[in-house]
Symmetry: C2
Subunit: 227 residues, 2 copies
Amino acid sequence: LISLSDIRKTYEMGQTQVRALDGVSLEILKGDYLAVMGPSGSGKSTLMNLIGCLDTPTSGSYLLKSREISTLGDDELARIRNREIGFVFQTFNLLPRADALQNVELPLVYSGMSRRDRRERARRALEAVGLGDRMGHRPNEMSGGQRQRVAIARALVNEPSILLADEPTGNLDSRTGEEIMALIDRLHREGNTIILVTHEDDLAKKAERVIRLLDGKIVSDSRNGGA
Amino acid sequence: LISLSDIRKTYEMGQTQVRALDGVSLEILKGDYLAVMGPSGSGKSTLMNLIGCLDTPTSGSYLLKSREISTLGDDELARIRNREIGFVFQTFNLLPRADALQNVELPLVYSGMSRRDRRERARRALEAVGLGDRMGHRPNEMSGGQRQRVAIARALVNEPSILLADEPTGNLDSRTGEEIMALIDRLHREGNTIILVTHEDDLAKKAERVIRLLDGKIVSDSRNGGA
Ligand SMILES: Nc1ncnc2c1ncn2[C@@H]1O[C@H](COP(=O)(O)OP(=O)(O)OP(=O)(O)O)[C@@H](O)[C@H]1O
Ligand SMILES: Nc1ncnc2c1ncn2[C@@H]1O[C@H](COP(=O)(O)OP(=O)(O)OP(=O)(O)O)[C@@H](O)[C@H]1O
Ligand SMILES: [Mg+2]
Ligand SMILES: [Mg+2]
């Protein structure tokens, strides 16, 4: 499904060069459940943004369903993102002047669904993350963990075939976090592909495979014992 | 040091009323190390903002060093915040167009320190959180955990007598998180007061006392066995 080959992402900062990704090669099959771990600053979010077609590599090749992503134009990338990929951002990226329902509806706007059906789907996605009573709240009228859950609901509302979740439970208490992981688990059981960035070993254990980044490189790639 | 008496914070949302804090009374002594826990949306950040003089209660009394905070004007609140309190926000609240060094320097601007001394102090605070090589980076040129660490360095740079840290390690791997907790620990050993919001039991164990919120009320308040 996803094939990364010697991917590099470099930032020029005056005299120095920051190598956010320094030669990453990775194969991900349809239906995989992959956890990405590594220290702060090791390149996890950069990797996610590249896989999610939100950014392009400095060099290297990225094949998504056998199509070379690094050569596609903005419109085509936007279409792939909207149809195939659900993304939970580490910094949520919600629209500040829209309420929770409008934020979650957004990915469905391009789907050709009627307004009524969109609202119904968005409502159910918010209820699934425990925010049935916060639909009319805007982001600054919600707690940190509530905003995170709106971001999660928005990523799931389109039933994406690839879910990229960048530390989706960082702002949640353990019980709410478990409810979210159960939703992600269910999406996986339905045959979808999950890539989860996490700092928590407990969450990484739920995945079938764990890769670890260090200084922009993959330093380990191992299959989990079970689940 | 801090005395909250029947504190309430209510938001009017059209027909409904959200009771973010619903009658909180709490005494905190100088030098205490308090952990605040509770589910997402239970009122933790709201409580922190009130204690940190960033917000005023709808009703109830807040005495800080025997002064009634709810009756103070903006200038006086700003002065107290700057002199006494270091705040690590759940959403970091960094200046987007300033780099890490400038962001960390900011609390020192009011202290009457020379520009050279300010820069030196800010530099050391950034080195202490492992960001010696990111001083010239702006927030959008850093990872999530790096931004969180800039927010931590900024809160510590003034050596505050009261540190309010709202989930300071949510975006950090465990090793980096431990380094941050060691800094907070040291601040506490120097006689300062620490209030830490966290979702992680391991971190709450380091505190001497744990209070739990649920639906805007304190439901438990217990002293830890040790450390
Ligand atoms: N401006 C506002 N208007 C309406 N409701 C608000 C507003 N700000 C916060 N709330 C509500 O107040 C409650 C408490 O919010 P708070 O941010 O204190 O929660 P929290 O315990 O910090 O949660 P988390 O662990 O998710 O960060 C939440 O249910 C939230 O929806
Ligand atoms: N626009 C940029 N310019 C310069 N350096 C950048 C830029 N964006 C990211 N970086 C650097 O690239 C490295 C990787 O960043 P990335 O966000 O992928 O880390 P991460 O593994 O997600 O970290 P965290 O766990 O803290 O979220 C970091 O050291 C960061 O400082
Ligand atoms: Mg990241
Ligand atoms: Mg909060």
